[in-house]
Symmetry: C2
Amino acid sequence: MEKDKTISNTTIRRLTKYYRYIEELDLKETSIISSYTLGKMMGISPSLIRQDFNAIGEFGRQGHGYNLDTLKKEIGEFLGINKIHNMIVIGAGNLGQTLANYDGFAKVGFPIKGLFDINPKLIGMKINGIEIIDLDQLNSFIKDNNIDIGILCVRKHCVQQMTDILVDAGIKGIWNFSAIDIDVPDDVKVESVNFSNSLFTLSYLMNDKYTNQKS
Amino acid sequence: MEKDKTISNTTIRRLTKYYRYIEELDLKETSIISSYTLGKMMGISPSLIRQDFNAIGEFGRQGHGYNLDTLKKEIGEFLGINKIHNMIVIGAGNLGQTLANYDGFAKVGFPIKGLFDINPKLIGMKINGIEIIDLDQLNSFIKDNNIDIGILCVRKHCVQQMTDILVDAGIKGIWNFSAIDIDVPDDVKVESVNFSNSLFTLSYLMNDKYTNQKS
């Protein structure tokens, strides 16, 4: 299957929604589902569902419904979530610890294997069973534990420096929670969670001056 | 100025970027900037910048550059971030406390005024000077403190129940950190931060099977 170069971020987010939704359905009770039924349950139009599924492969026939097992497998493969991705957190402050405390990532195949910090008071502590390790152990830890994702939870002034260290250590994916854009080589992928941008979007949506004005 | 109904989420996120960028520039040293210079500094194409600015108003003339004060004011007004939005956090667990500890929101006009929980052990505690209050005080607190945004940091099973309580109390914006979609009336706006969706997007980007295959 070839990657459709035009697939959008919005489509990817819907695909993750389908995946999580199907995961929660009881596959023993249902094995085939129509885009109509799925759409009704998820509040998404059936034609958009068919369009999304067509964008990633050909695993349903019009009028025959979709096999849920196949669907889950294909979407999972497309998103790369059918295999384990080992992660580490850089920065064991509030946010880093919050992410370490969340078991949901491990459940879907993204376990956090270690937290890294430079604060001697934190090193050696365990958060949800995950040890806080001195940053100078980073390189060997990444190699020994087959880490492919680094989660950046550090302060602004050291974001790029930590990025460079992760890249040098061979990390291929960075989940960036800092409010700063980072520079990486082409073969390293970045996904950012930017709280301020999200909050400003909410503010825009709530802005009466524009949203309640008819054009 | 009328709202352009076709303005996309991506544009809004870029507008927030311009806003934050301009905020950090020294307005004493520069008062006029061209789309070319801004683009070079931000790594965004000048034509896209002009297109974005045109989408929200008419405050620059081709060849004359943009006045930074005007630009900041207009973008701020468009995004609704020129006024104070008082917020509360529902759920004083790890994530709720992390958000309360972050001073960045207050700095841009979105102060967190209270944290709400039902756990008697937490009630009365202060996080970063913000009190954890019993949920049964919610209605009066919202009215007395002119709260317009509720931040949902509660567990899956009570997300919709908490949403309904916020809506009944008159909240007009919900910043939803739970991994669940919520139902709200049309006049209530929702912006979600979904960690799993973001992580799956990173996974997709890293997925060699698709990203390294040429079509």
